[in-house]
């Protein structure tokens, strides 16, 4: 079994999941648009 490939695929899947989750949360207004400041009141 190619554990090397499995490890990188797992990391890649996690990265894609993170990016998708981030942008879904932003689109729903649950995460800051940019993350650069804490003043956008994203919870509103």
């Amino acid at each position: 079994m190619n554990y090397d490939l499995i490890a990188v695929l797992a990391l890649g899947a996690m990265a894609v999941a993170f990016v998708v989750r981030h942008y879904v949360r932003v689109s729903k207004g649950k995460a800051p648009v940019c993350g650069n400041c804490n003043n956008c009141a994203c919870d509103d």
């Binding site: 990188v8 996690m14 990265a15 981030h22 940019c34 650069n36 804490n38 009141a41």
Partner: protein, 630 residues
């Protein structure tokens, strides 16, 4: 915003709104009451949306506290004031009216604050009054009889100092009185602005002041008055502003060298350790060429970002920034803008997004439109890693007339951002006409010595935001880019670097023809694509792309020397200019859509600014080639 501190529990039924004039210390009190760390600064207009938090009364009851944008009256003249007034008057469609309003008034500017109290009292809004900044009154040796003011107003009055617990404990005790919360709210949901009542409210405020023996004007702060003699004078003031900005950029380079060297050393050590620990293979490549090369390339710029923000925070805290706005008001007026645009544009030096949101304080629609349009041209902190990478690679670390050449170039790039914003505003004024002339009415707060704790909190927040981005979205995009730059793998016998065979390599080579006239190679093109998520991602992406382009012996080499070897000076300068103009930030465009209500403006803005970036880079590239023949 710290999400854990925002009241989302729904447990606190009682709602307390903090209302007051701009820059009277509402947010400092909000932070003190709720334990939040919302941005506080010594100028008006920092809060443009309502913020909620949870506080405990003296007996431990929960109360939802709502921090509102500052307003001078209940007749709103801008979007942020409308938010505050609609909330307090129960006219908000999204928020329930507060059960109680705490009107925060600045003890050094009582009459203005009491006008607001008069307006609320006229409408019968249940309230308490918090007289803030009492420390300044005491420091002038003045008498302030709170009991007498309370008797005159007929509502509970508490004295407070937002930066200490003084007063907040008294408020916590007061809020335990059930009677306060059981006052009937009059039906004021249909009250419409009435400018005719302003005079009545002012007369009422004056009557209260006389009744409380508080109608003597406060003496000027001696130091503030003397300093303003220099700093508000058109010639010396502008000169001081320029010298200040110039020194900041010199310091960004001079002070950061040592910590940057430490981070570079640490990155190299981690890379070498992983190299020694893991056998050759995909995982090792992902960690060294993807994660370490990518993130190491960005993290190294943290010291410079912190140094820049240290100075910005000092200027904010000290009260210097509104003076700068006043100085530039005339210049802005000639561009169809007003001094009110200064704070949004200044915020854009940190990030265009809060800057664009701060444009809500501008009541004139056309002025707001121009301000939002030019905000992305201000040099945001995300550009700093790109600028310093390219300056470090292509500008020699020489001293010219005692000044650091890299610092000089960085200063020049910031100035170029400002000048281009001015030029675009001027063109827009010619095209669409000037907005309505808006008089700049801005409080000039007394100068303060910045508090070390506030500076430390500000810098800590900035560092944690940066590192959270690096560990989150930048790390994820770097891993994805590594995949795109590694697969499909080159067949045996493929001549050239394996990355050229990958998806990313092919995309880069397909688009390279379009960017060739401005000197960009395919590696730059590949890095520009994830760089649309945020500008600093471009640096991480370049790190990954170049790490994968190297042979084994060169793995772990710093990105700066690699690009200095691979690109011409003309390409380096062209890319620098690209980043002055290009709106390489999708989040900014998304916020423009939200703030301006439609896609027309962000799309038009993106087309215009990308076009401008391409044209400016082309001119720079051709000039550099022709002048130096590099």
């Amino acid at each position: 915003m710290s999400e854990t501190k925002v009241d989302i529990s729904g447990l606190a039924q009682r709602r307390l709104a903090l209302l007051g004039n701009p820059n009277c210390g509402k947010t400092a009190l909000f932070n003190r009451l709720t334990g939040s760390q919302q941005k506080v600064a010594n100028y008006a207009g920092v809060t443009v949306e309502l913020k909620r938090g949870l506080m405990k009364t003296a007996t431990g009851r929960s109360v939802t506290v709502i921090d509102l944008p500052g307003t001078y009256s209940l007749n709103p003249s801008s979007q942020d004031e409308t938010v505050a007034c609609a909330m307090v008057l129960g006219q908000s469609l999204r928020e329930k009216a507060p059960d109680l309003t705490a009107v925060v008034i600045d003890a050094t500017r009582l009459r203005r604050g009491l006008r607001l109290v008069a307006a609320l009292k006229r409408l019968g809004v249940p309230m308490v009054v918090l007289v803030n900044m009492m420390d300044r009154v005491r420091s002038q040796g003045r008498e302030f009889d709170v009991a007498r003011l309370q008797a005159a107003l007929g509502v509970p009055v508490i004295e407070a100092t937002g930066i200490s617990t003084h007063g907040t404990d008294a408020l916590r005790q007061l809020l335990d009185q059930n009677g306060l919360w059981q006052q009937a709210r009059p039906d004021i949901a249909t009250v419409r602005p009435d400018t005719g009542t302003a005079r009545t409210d002012d007369a009422q405020a004056q009557t209260w002041l006389q009744a409380s023996a508080l109608d003597q004007p406060m003496g000027d702060h001696e130091w503030s008055r003397r300093l303003d003699g220099w700093l508000l004078q058109p010639v010396t003031g502008v000169l001081v502003l320029l010298v200040l900005l110039f020194l900041i950029f010199q310091a960004v380079f001079a002070w950061a060298a040592w910590p940057m060297g430490l981070i570079e050393g640490a990155t190299g050590w981690v890379s070498a350790s992983v190299d020694a620990l893991l056998p050759a293979g995909l995982l090792k490549s992902l960690l060294i060429d993807g994660v370490i090369a990518g993130l190491g390339g960005v993290v190294i710029f943290l010291p410079q970002i912190l140094i820049l923000f240290f100075f910005i925070l000092v200027m904010e805290e000290s009260g210097y920034l509104p003076r700068a706005a006043l100085l530039l008001d005339r210049l802005m007026g000639s561009l169809g803008l007003s001094g009110r645009a200064f704070i949004p544009l200044l915020s854009s030096f940190a990030c265009a997004i809060p800057g664009i949101m701060a444009a809500r304080t501008i009541s004139d629609r056309r002025t707001k439109w121009v301000t939002v349009f030019i905000a992305p041209l201000m040099t945001c902190s995300a550009r700093l890693p790109v600028y310093t990478l390219l300056i470090g690679a292509f500008i020699p670390a020489k001293t010219v007339y005692g000044m650091s050449l890299p610092g000089l170039v960085l200063f020049g790039l910031y100035v170029m951002g400002i000048v281009s914003a001015i030029a675009v505003a001027w063109v827009l004024k010619l095209w669409r006409g000037a907005g309505e002339p808006v008089q700049l009415m801005m409080e000039l707060p007394d100068y303060h010595l910045p508090r070390i704790k506030d500076l430390a909190i500000g810098l800590w927040q900035r560092a944690s935001i940066f590192l959270r981005n690096v560990g989150g979205i930048i790390l994820s995009l770097t891993v994805i880019l590594w995949f795109l730059s590694t697969f499909p793998q080159a067949p045996v016998g493929f001549t050239g670097s394996p990355i050229e065979y990958s998806f990313a390599g092919r995309i880069g080579q397909t688009l390279a023809g379009f960017f060739a006239p401005i000197g960009f190679n395919w590696q730059i093109v590949v890095a520009l694509i994830p760089g649309l998520a945020a500008r600093e991602v471009m640096v991480a992406a370049l790190g990954t792309v170049y790490a994968l382009s190297q042979t084994g012996d060169e793995v772990g080499a710093a990105l700066g020397p690699l690009i200095a070897q691979d690109w011409t000076l003309a390409t380096g300068l062209s890319l620098l200019i690209w980043f002055v103009f290009a709106p390489q930030c999708l989040a900014t465009l998304a916020v423009v859509r939200k703030e301006m209500g439609g896609w027309a403006m962000p799309v038009g803005m993106a087309v215009f600014l990308f076009g401008l970036a391409y044209a400016a880079s082309w001119v720079t590239y051709r000039l550099a080639l022709n002048l130096g023949g590099f």
